[in-house]
């Protein structure tokens, strides 16, 4: 039981196929509560697909997914909404609502899931904008008026709007300048330590992997090849993993 409680995401035997071709095959995965789990793998390995499958956006052929101790297939409408309140998702492309300003984007989950008064919602919204390092002027801008990196931050602010227990981040630091990326790493760390946040982070940013990830999972051959700490990754002798962590960029990051 205690063991169960410590697992934020438990996936078993996950198989996802598009047009009859499996992208993920019999994948097993555990993400512990309070961990920052980094996912790496070659482009097209299925990292985004895995993320989308866990939050229920892709159909799976087989397999069970438990999030925060609840089997996602067995939830009724209300329970499902409760779970949705407890996670936040940052999509690879930001996925902001294009007809709303940044601030309105962040307010959407707040108005939808809470009954906080308007002034508090607006303040929390301002807070999140500051937290992710956007300038206050960005709040009243529309997504198309922002740079790519700013859109990413706005998407992150929306994902964090409800102070979720789990955040799913698809390449959060891609497109950020190095200083912004480092600030982002620090933000994830501090949220994680004060909130016990669980972070599911797809990233190719080796600095991020070093700075914030407690554990790293490597995706390849349609399943998780190995999970472990950074130190363990460095000792792997799987060719792709070795190239990844010992390549020129891997060495520079250390």
């Amino acid at each position: 039981m205690a063991e169960q409680n410590n697992i934020a995401i438990r996936a078993r035997d996950i198989t996802v196929a598009f047009h009859g071709i499996a992208v993920l095959d019999k994948l097993d995965l555990d993400v512990r509560r309070g961990d920052v789990m980094g996912f790496v793998g070659p482009s097209g390995a299925g990292k985004s697909v895995l993320l989308r499958t866990i939050v229920g956006l892709n159909k799976r052929v087989r397999g069970t997914i438990e999030v925060l101790g609840q089997d996602l297939d067995k939830l009724n409408y209300r329970q499902r909404r409760e779970i949705e309140e407890r996670w936040g998702v940052l999509f690879q492309s930001g996925a902001l609502f294009s007809s709303l300003t940044v601030a309105q984007n962040i307010e959407v989950p707040l108005f939808e899931h809470t009954d906080l008064p308007v002034d508090v919602v607006e303040e929390i919204c301002a807070l999140k904008i500051g937290l992710v390092g956007l300038p206050p002027e960005a709040a009243s801008k529309y997504p198309m008026e922002l740079s790519g990196g700013m859109r990413k931050r706005a998407g992150l602010a929306r994902a964090l709007a409800l102070d979720p227990e789990i955040v799913f981040l698809d390449e959060p630091t891609a497109g950020l300048d190095p200083i912004g990326a480092a600030a982002f790493d620090e933000l994830v760390r501090s949220l994680q330590s004060s909130l016990g946040l669980t972070v599911f982070m797809v990233t190719h940013d080796l600095d991020s992997l070093h700075a914030v990830c407690d554990r790293i999972a490597v995706l390849g051959d349609k399943h998780v090849i190995v999970t472990g700490s950074m130190a363990e990754m460095l000792e792997q002798d799987h060719p792709w993993i070795r190239d990844y962590f010992h390549g020129p960029r891997g060495r520079a990051a250390r």
Binding site: D115, E122, E123, I124, S140, L195
Partner: protein, 379 residues
């Protein structure tokens, strides 16, 4: 661990010189909602100082922290002493972060005063009409230039794309257009029969159907259906490509969007609209014939005889002559509107609506002008 933490709670301890808030449990978004009212109106009496004791807090999230922070901010502004006691390191870290953040932002871009806005809106609408006409002419010019270029280098005509749009806008529209024309023929004959029977002039129903369907109704209805069906599709397709920066990508690769997107649609529509119009003509006459038989007992052979006698080739001719012009109006309007889409999904919706409305309006206006013109030259 955090999973076992209790819900957030709050306890007030009054002392003569201080009010202490003991906080505990999970101070998160949910607890924040429950305690928001209480904290909003909380005020120590007289000379009391406020002490907030964090020692029993298991976890603090930004919403929870914000409520405490704004309480302290408000009271300090009112001159009350506020102290945070027994802060644990991560919680202090969050509060410190909040202190650095600007807590007010503009949610929307500033709006002008409503009265000014209305006046400005009226003025802008008037100017916009002029601008729109100018832009349409410019767009027509651009299209003509790319057409001329394509004539000089026929390789530039994108034949597969033309056939694709002919199928989408033409072939696939046949069932709906045939059905509508058939029903219209039916209705005209029925209404005509009721009126003309009073004069014993039933047979003239055939003339009436022939003239109204061939000259006006068939082609007008076809144009309206195509504007709604394909005009909106053209705008949405091109608009989505604009939002996705695909049109910009084309330009950087050296493809001319006019050439790739507009010309094939224009040519395809100019070819299929007369054909669709002809289908509508035939089906309208069939509808008229069916109703004449049911209502007036005019047999099909009688109906065809009468049609032959009354048939003026110009009735068919004027109808089909208008078709390519209507096609050009629809294709140019919808492609132009598609090109004007920018940024948001809202703008896509706006221009798609506008494309259909403008195209239909322009088609009807031009149809009226044609009627006057044909009457003037006497055909």
């Amino acid at each position: 661990m955090t999973s076992a933490a209790r819900e957030g709670w709050l306890e007030r301890i009054e002392a003569p010189d201080s009010l202490t808030l003991n906080l505990g449990g999970r101070w998160d978004m949910r607890s924040a909602q429950r305690h928001e009212k209480e904290l909003r109106h909380l005020r120590p009496s007289g000379k009391q100082a406020l002490r907030v004791d964090f020692s029993a807090i298991d976890s603090l999230d930004t919403a929870g922290a914000w409520l405490l922070f704004r309480l302290a901010k408000r009271l300090r502004a009112e001159g009350v002493e506020v102290a945070f006691d027994n802060l644990q390191a991560p919680h202090a870290d969050i509060l410190e972060r909040l202190a650095k953040i600007e807590s007010h932002v503009e949610i929307e871009p500033p709006k002008p005063n409503p009265l000014v806005a209305i006046v400005a809106l009226i003025g802008k609408s008037v100017i916009d009409i002029g601008v729109e006409i100018m832009e349409s002419i410019a767009f027509l010019g651009l299209t003509a230039v790319s057409f001329a270029r394509a004539v000089l280098r026929p390789k530039l005509f994108r034949v597969p794309a033309i056939f694709y749009h002919m199928e989408q806008a033409g072939l696939n529209a046949i069932p709906i257009i045939a059905l509508i024309a058939f029903l219209i023929g039916l209705v005209i004959a029925y209404q005509g029969a009721i009126q003309l029977r009073q004069f014993g002039a039933e047979i003239f129903v055939v003339d009436m159907v022939a003239v109204s369907v061939l000259r006006e109704l068939a082609i007008l209805l076809t144009a309206i259906v195509v504007a709604g069906r394909s005009g909106s599709a053209f705008t949405a397709q091109i608009g989505a490509m604009k939002i996705n920066e695909e049109v910009d990508a084309m330009r950087t690769i050296g493809l001319d969007p006019m050439q790739v997107l507009v010309l094939p649609r224009l040519i395809a529509l100019m070819i299929v609209l007369p054909l669709l119009g002809f289908v509508a003509d035939v089906m309208g006459l069939v509808g008229g014939g069916v109703m004449s038989m049911i209502e007036l007992g005019i047999s099909p052979s009688q109906y065809i005889d009468r049609l032959e006698q009354s048939f003026a080739p110009w009735s068919l001719g004027t109808g089909l002559l208008k078709a390519p012009v209507f096609a050009a109006i629809i294709a140019l309007t919808s492609c132009h509107m598609g090109m004007k889409v920018s940024g948001s999904s809202e703008s896509l919706g706006k221009f798609t609506t506008r494309s259909v409305v403008h195209a239909i309006f322009a088609v009807i206006v031009v149809d009226a002008m044609f009627s006057i013109f044909f009457a003037y030259i006497g055909i």
